[in-house]
Symmetry: C2
Subunit: 341 residues, 2 copies
């Protein structure tokens, strides 16, 4: 972070990412922060509480690939952190801190004000502190590394799914893909639907509380960033199992479909399946749990105010079988989401 604020007009950036007037970590009540030293030295210092592990994840967002140039900067600030918090959620960690590396083609105050506002609103909602970073001139690139805390040995991994487990998804699926298709012009959405779907794409909700509530309950978990079937494969490979996925149950999780204006959109079954099963950019949790823990899963959902739905089950036979509600195979090819590539 040594370059921050030394690049002439880039000193301006520092203003938007240095938050004066907040109590220093050392001035806060004992235990309220793991951050011993934040922005402004060569390194940040972080000390997890005794018996706790740090969970770490990194995501890089590039214009044209992970977001459109037209995106509202406040939504982009939100999304840049949200996709990282989503990784913490998938392993059940409580957010603690993050670093931000930012390349900007030019310094635009309006953009910086919006971006930092969206970023810090989400950070504050999760008590996740900016502890360091780097800014430089270059093609727009946002790289965040996030740190969470969880009791040693309690992380939700991809490798714990067992044949017979239920397959669950949180929240809503496929709406971000619907918005993307509308942007691409491959389908038309009524404006109320489009705005809702667009907000899902541009401002996803990381399932941080649910992830923590699922510790000790879920046998495996992953966050859905590249599409449900694509990310499911990560669990199946790590756990050496297969899965049966109920396409009809997944389609029911498309919020646009349940919307009063949903009928107007006249979305065909193939589109709905594609959006729900290989939509991408959902940032929901996909997780497995033994059937005898169904009530515990539902309780975790209620406790975290996050809808959860069973959408399939884990099987010993490798591979994925997509079926309809009656159990008949669905003849449709699903490819992994490739963002805007």
């Amino acid at each position: 972070m040594s370059a921050t604020g030394t690049l002439g007009e880039f000193g301006l950036i520092e203003r938007y990412f240095t938050r004066r007037g907040r109590p220093a970590a050392s001035a806060r009540p004992e235990g309220s922060s793991r951050v011993a030293l934040g922005v402004g030295d060569d390194c940040a210092l972080l000390a997890p509480a005794p018996g706790m592990q740090l969970a770490i994840s990194t995501d890089m967002l590039v214009e044209g690939r992970h977001f459109l140039s037209t995106v509202d900067p406040a939504r982009l600030g939100h999304k840049a952190l949200a996709v990282n918090l989503s990784d913490l959620a998938a392993c059940g960690a409580r957010p603690v801190a993050f670093t931000l590396a930012l390349a900007l083609p030019s310094v635009e105050e309006g953009w910086l004000a919006g971006f930092s506002r969206g970023l810090f609103a989400l950070a504050d909602a999760h008590s996740c502190e900016l502890v360091g970073g780097d800014t430089t001139r270059g093609p727009l690139n946002i790289s965040i590394t996030v740190f969470g805390e969880l009791p040693a040995g309690s992380a939700l991994l991809r490798s714990g799914a067992r044949a017979g487990d239920d397959l669950w998804a949180s929240g809503t699926l496929g709406d971000a893909r619907l918005a993307l298709e509308a942007f691409r012009g491959t389908l038309v959405l009524p404006s109320a639907l489009f705005e809702m779907a667009r907000a899902r794409m541009e401002q996803p909700t990381p399932r941080v509380a649910l992830g923590q509530a699922l510790r000790g309950i879920a046998s495996a978990a992953v966050d859905v960033s590249d599409g449900l079937l694509g990310d499911l494969r990560h669990i199946l490979e790590a756990s050496r199992v297969g899965a049966r996925v109920d396409a009809d149950a997944a389609i029911e999780l498309i919020a646009a479909n349940a919307h009063p204006a949903g009928g107007e959109a006249r979305l065909d079954m193939e589109t709905l399946r594609r959006c729900a099963l290989s939509g991408g950019d959902d940032y929901e949790l996909l997780f497995t749990a033994p059937p005898d823990l169904r009530q515990a899963v539902e309780q975790a959902g209620r406790a975290s105010a996050t809808p959860v739905a069973r959408i399939g089950r884990i099987e010993a036979e490798p591979g994925v079988r997509v079926v309809d509600r009656a159990g008949a195979p669905v003849a449709q090819r699903f490819t992994s989401f490739d963002h805007f590539g």
Copy 2:
């Protein structure tokens, strides 16, 4: 890191950054690794030993700004990690792990092979493990976050310098800037000198062992990435002091100047001062220590096989006074290094 390896041909990248055949962290002797879970899940898990803090730093490298497009990819892999390790060195931390976020315009195997070779050679030399990352298509951008460990409360900070302290620099200064000027065509270097200076620019040596040896000895430290005077200012501002810098002592630290071919280059005094005092890209340590610890500093230098030299002293009066060996003010304006901007 959820997107790693899911982007079609970008799966190729994974091969270069997934190191099979190495023992898993869990299979290593107790205490030999703080990494409980590395690449391949939503998060990496890291647990500092009891009583230890984690030091964290992030640096983003952009083509044309931090490196030239002509750089050898192995040297670039080295440099991308070196600039981060240099931040750990500046706070006295022992490297533990790092994450890598990488945007690439296209997948070129030769480039990936070279980059990962240079990166891992330096990582292995410091037992610093790649624990996670993200790869995406986009303008070339390398963003690394590095994690080090040190006893709680022992970090070298920028804020501890006191009037009367000596000002020290490690290693050599200014050679990277000489190489840059040669690339820019503003000066001509004999080829032996150019190659030496170029290696300093492209393959800096992070002073990791010295940083750790200076814990409990140095009162303040920073790494020199933007030029000695620019980075000195970070110490002075954080410590609310001023400094007197001996330009002649700093010039003696230019390796090219001491080189047998140095005379041929006929570098004028103004150029030498600019390179030594506002050169940039040195990745040396600039630190302060009380005069009664001079022997301890020299012993730390010997123990870490790193030259250290006194180049000035801290004074109560704010601001920086650049003087010659006789103590007379040097009338030359120094501006902060701006990389290739």
